[in-house]
Point group: C2
Amino acid sequence: MIQTPYLLFLGDAPDQLAAKVAQGIKDWRPDNAVGQYRMEGCMADVGLTDMTLAEAKEAGAKTLVIGVANRGGIISPEWKKVLVMALEEGFDLASGLHNLLRDEPDLVAVAEATGRALHDVRVPDVKYPIASGERRTGKRCLAVGTDCSVGKMYTALAMDAEMKARGMKSNFAATGQTGILITGKGVPLDAVIADFMAGSIEWLTPDNDPDHWDMIEGQGSLFHVSYSGVTMALIHGGQPDALVLCHEPTREHMRGLPGYKLPTLEAVRDMALELARVANPACKVIGISVNTQHMSEEDALSYMAEVESRMGLPTVDPFRQDAGRLVDALAAI
Amino acid sequence: MIQTPYLLFLGDAPDQLAAKVAQGIKDWRPDNAVGQYRMEGCMADVGLTDMTLAEAKEAGAKTLVIGVANRGGIISPEWKKVLVMALEEGFDLASGLHNLLRDEPDLVAVAEATGRALHDVRVPDVKYPIASGERRTGKRCLAVGTDCSVGKMYTALAMDAEMKARGMKSNFAATGQTGILITGKGVPLDAVIADFMAGSIEWLTPDNDPDHWDMIEGQGSLFHVSYSGVTMALIHGGQPDALVLCHEPTREHMRGLPGYKLPTLEAVRDMALELARVANPACKVIGISVNTQHMSEEDALSYMAEVESRMGLPTVDPFRQDAGRLVDALAAI
């Protein structure tokens, strides 16, 4: 559990896209961030107040979150200076970088001397159980995709936000680095040991009120041969009552796999539903979330109308439109 | 890669079943073991010559393999004495116990001083890649089960033995502790990090001769909610050309999951085949292996005849009968 609120470190981001973790925190959990810290030459701006470490501390920030991708996979000397100063000023550090904070001896030494925590959210810090398969109280919704990176996290976050706005009981259950940094907690599922994958999702979404929804962030795809085991563990560990299908219609092949075509929405629906019903016989597919960012307004709307009529399910782009109709469908269960 | 041949350590096994790892090595790779080492009170005997450490060394043994389950999950002081002596005598140690050899400071110190290796086959010692999904040359067969512990390893080993006897090119590809100790190499899949599961199976079964078969040891079941992600990774990382369905007909519920009924053979066939065809469109189900150990001869034969006629696939118990008909089916692909 990472202490909030954060100061978002944008470093020397070469462009706006490099700061997408910080942007995600600002978009989805604005209360979690007091401001942003930018170094000289930073080309990103997530629209928060620029602050020094001292100003952020004064504003109550507890953790400096690295909200930017590092260049070349290393933590540069320039970054290091700021990170060390932050520890000295009393900040914890949190990062989703492949280059772990804990692998930097100087950061470890300063963190120890100052009594601060280094959070590497790529590495599990919990000993997860093996999944028991026992039914849990409360409800769960899982986003499943035709492919990786088609908008599963965005969909779950957008639905969670809409549910909270309606006064429904909802929680976004993060299963990836960005999601964990956004909410301050979660399971870095891709780094969990095989035997404990499904158990980690049971742990993440425990018994809850009968009308409480865990909106579980999906990962991978049942049809993506590199990561399908992770998706499977989400379906069986999550015991979802509801599935939302996520799709990006302009994708020409599976992400990173040039020889693999995307499955149809029908194939994902049938496969995911049959597998989900092993753990929860009442599971339903409640809607379809389409990532239409690479389509014109006209193409997007006509594509979604066609899918909606073909599949008989509410079909929306929660970014272009909103997640209201998906939440309507969930509320109707 | 564990150095062969072995001396099999049976310790103070309370009964024959406790020595099933040693029995597996003796049954499937008799050339891998020069003899057995039994302590006072040992109630197991795998039928090899009893040897002292010195005699085994003289006979060429390179590794002392712990072929017995430990009591209470700890390596006892009595065992320790033998293990330390073995290191001093120049043996490597290999173990599939949960209690790792490397977590015992005295064993680590003696191994270092003597320059010997400690092999904990529960822990991967390779940095596996992320699966690429690229087609590999050679052929692969995967055993998939209705449940855990229904005879998948036995089936793959029996088919591999039959293929070798026929002069076919075959390799048993171990994916669990016992299989790894039997063959001296493999992937401890349940201990692999989620992102690398499918990649570890690609690594285990690389390009090979067009007429070479990797007989891949299955794990878990697509319908076992605790371990289904592991099974999925085998199906997509293994790219099998052939599947053998494995089943134990007297099982009343999924292993360790009292609330979960076993799936039908038809459900496993359809689900496994659709998923396998994502990675290998030519994949076929070639036969059914039934574990009839808890059935009378008459019941077993009539059950298998019924399944064979219903499923239209050769159906055998490779222990009660042999794996010949399964290999016939494989050879016909």
